[in-house]
Symmetry: C2
Subunit: 111 residues, 2 copies
């Protein structure tokens, strides 16, 4: 299984990529990868994303220092979503200074 | 924190939604929700998605019986991604008959 199994065409070259702690399974964030950012990620072992708002490649942690080291890469059944298990080098993943991007809990009463 | 904090407009009413096991933190799948499918999810406690390929709402497990009961709902820092912790009612989540959609591991040599 390699990069050729990913359906970049279907997704207009933008693949949603779930970033998960390899030790605790905590989900840190969702980013987006195009083919080049995934190639850079595989080549270097450091997470690289495609920024949809800035239209550019970026290496996670390049300015913040909070880098993400790749441990394992998974593709889903449809070939259009990635799940990457990582080791966080640093203290937090989110630009808000929190460990994860998913800290806002929505009101929900269990049914 | 509620549904009004979600940036549906930015995402053309299609919010990527990570589905995670509430007990083990295993990531089961990534689906997509529009406002109505999220409202149905919150109202019933059962995961409802928006199908991009079929252009219709669908309740997860409606035909397969593998339903997902909502435990907690989180929104990310940008307001454009959901993470929902669930309890799986049934045996598997993936239409391929596997427990999770992320079973294909990509070749990667740790750096």
């Amino acid at each position: 299984m390699d990069i050729t199994n990913i359906d970049f065409k279907k997704m207009n070259d933008i693949i949603p990529t779930i970033i998960q702690d390899s030790k605790t399974n905590e989900v840190f964030m969702l980013g987006y990868m195009n083919k080049v950012s995934l190639q850079n990620t595989i080549k270097t072992g450091d997470i690289h994303f495609w920024s949809r708002s800035r239209n550019m490649l970026w290496k996670k942690g390049e300015t913040s220092g909070n880098q993400l080291k790749v441990k394992e890469i998974y593709l889903d059944c449809d070939g259009d979503t990635l799940l990457i298990k990582v080791q966080l080098i640093g203290i937090n993943v989110c630009h808000t200074g929190k460990r994860t991007c998913f800290t806002k809990q929505l009101s929900f009463t269990q049914k």
